[in-house]
Symmetry: C2
Subunit: 361 residues, 2 copies
């Protein structure tokens, strides 16, 4: 394995197909910090994408953003009524988890393609409904797993598929942050503490990164989970502050991961094979450069990675698929399995025992 | 926290008490590769220690080693008969796990202090008997957890105790090696594949490092374990080739670890606190320099560690305790809890469910 050659054109867009001049116009559903600080800049940076409409329950917030960026501001009611429907081709849904479905229903009925944030919904039942809604309407549904479009992850996946580290035998991963400390003085993330809106705590919010990125890297799904959840702060009385999972993936591979809203900022993913290792650290925070180390034959190779704007990649990829007439991935069915695995994780934490029924009930 | 100051005199022997000129003379029980390549050189390097006797089932091997190092060679029968009993003050037991007890019984009856390799015995029942044997005879029993004497671990433990990384909230760890590949052409480790002699596979042999080093660093014990074991090679038909454990330590701290005899050579221990992290990587192999990184306030500090000869430290410490008249640690009771936790891990892997009864039945 020639690592230099493999990692040579690091940020290559292996997914790029479209070579025309058209543009996908987006309605942004939800004008919170992630939309403002990451999605909108991503759309601005990407070719073939444009943000034309913004929808928010906070009309003032929507209008301010619309003014700044030459967009049309809509209330949710106006959006559902089809106002300005001709101004956008697709929607980007970035609202509290439990409200994704209602926006997707309207968008699908109007024939708009959909890029929906993860977790896809507040529970697996609503997520399944969301998938079905898009399927029935014949529109594209991509779920916003930005790690899939990151070249650090794509190049790592290729390396694994090429057999560079042999057979994968185990994975350790973590995503943690100091949300308790950061919550003080910032109300915008408060919905994440509400089980009705969020569907859960650390597992839904950040534990989904170790889970889903491992699924993508290994091209394998969990078949058994054993988990515990816990909280030490009153803010997390209703959703879990931390989660620890021992899962088994297809092929019998143990995948152990943690997520914690009250821990030192950290994210890593460590894939061990029979012949080597891939260590992504930092791994998951959009606002932090990713790092990559490959270990082969006892040698540590610190890879000189190209850090991309993950949301630029995500929107560019989505538009490329839409314009080239193919279905974007990760699709709804892929994302649904995360929701089902998360429910199994919650069930295991509740009952104490392992859960093996992951998937449609 | 001034890290430079904390790590200034890195290899300081905070345990050193004895300032006399006496020497502890050891009978080495078991002349396998670890005794020859690590224990004996450790004794040679340390002050106040001397190897005077060697016992092995292979008389030729014992005599060859005795000739090279000016020792007396004994067969096990001769040892049990008290031959050359006046030539040693203490024994170092490094034989297949299931044979530790018989040597400890003879040594204890002769009033010799004991340094016994880990795992202490092949199961918790025999381990408890071993502890009782030493207690009843009033001799010192230390179990050979060499990580406890490594300054990388001792300085890390002090840092945790000083609160430098806040409250510990989770631990990830692994120890893995390519034993399957290394077994070819080397018969000396074959007993590790025999459940009667070894008591188990990867968990007993290398999984004990993540487990025990975490216990030492956190000064806390596991209260619940959920585990799976597996094998993919015929050599490991009778003992597990790999193990994955999700445990909960006192205080509710998740500790997730793996051990694997068929994976890329790797060892790490990653302690995450509310305010920082300590990452030991490499962590556990005696033949490999340890590495240490401390992360505080988003800054990564690669610590300039002093790598010691772990067996020199271990024997020097043991002799220091014996000569200064105090009990060495880790003692038998500490080690017994590992054996009980390992049995709980095997029980969990067998039944599928978590096991909370860790300790005396």
């Amino acid at each position: 394995m020639d690592l230099d050659e493999h990692f040579g054109d690091f940020a290559r867009r292996d997914w790029e197909r479209y070579d025309g001049a058209a543009t996908v116009r987006f309605a942004l559903i939800g004008a919170g910090w992630f939309t403002r600080e990451w999605a909108l800049p991503g759309i601005d940076r990407a070719d073939h994408t444009e943000a034309t409409v913004v929808v928010d329950v906070d009309a003032e917030r929507a209008e301010a953003l619309a003014d700044d960026h030459g967009m049309t501001a809509l209330t949710p009611a106006e959006f559902h009524d089809g106002v300005a429907e001709t101004e956008y081709d697709a929607v980007y849904v970035c609202t509290p988890n439990a409200t994704h479905l209602e926006y997707v229903e309207t968008a699908a009925a109007a024939g708009k393609d959909i890029l929906c944030e993860k977790p896809m919904e507040a529970d697996a039942t609503r997520a399944a409904e969301l998938v079905e809604t898009a399927q029935d309407a014949g529109v594209s549904l991509m779920v916003g797993y930005r790690m899939h479009l990151d070249p650090v992850v794509r190049r790592s996946k290729e390396l694994i598929e090429a057999g560079a580290i042999g057979d994968v035998v185990q994975v350790h991963s973590n995503m943690s942050q100091r949300m308790v400390a950061e919550l003080e003085g910032d109300a915008s993330d408060q919905w994440r503490l509400d089980p009705d809106l969020a569907g859960g705590g650390a597992m839904m919010d950040i534990g989904i990164y170790p889970l889903n990125t491992t699924r993508f890297l290994l091209d394998a799904d969990p078949v058994e989970v054993s988990a515990e959840t816990g909280s030490t702060h009153e803010e997390f009385a209703d959703v879990e502050e931390q989660v620890a999972v021992r899962s088994t993936f297809e092929g019998g591979v143990p995948v152990l991961f943690t997520a914690n809203h009250n821990a030192s900022h950290d994210s890593f993913l460590r894939v061990t094979g029979t012949e080597g290792q891939i260590i992504i650290d930092p791994a998951f925070f959009e606002r932090e450069d990713r790092g990559l180390e490959v270990r082969l034959d006892g040698e540590r190779h610190a890879i000189d990675v190209t850090n991309v704007h993950q949301l630029e990649e995500e929107f560019a990829y989505f538009a490329d698929c839409v314009l080239a007439g193919r279905k974007p991935e990760p699709d709804g069915e892929h994302a649904l399995l995360d929701m089902q695995a998360i429910e199994a994780i919650y069930e295991s934490a509740e009952t104490g025992g392992p859960v093996t029924s992951i998937g449609p009930n």
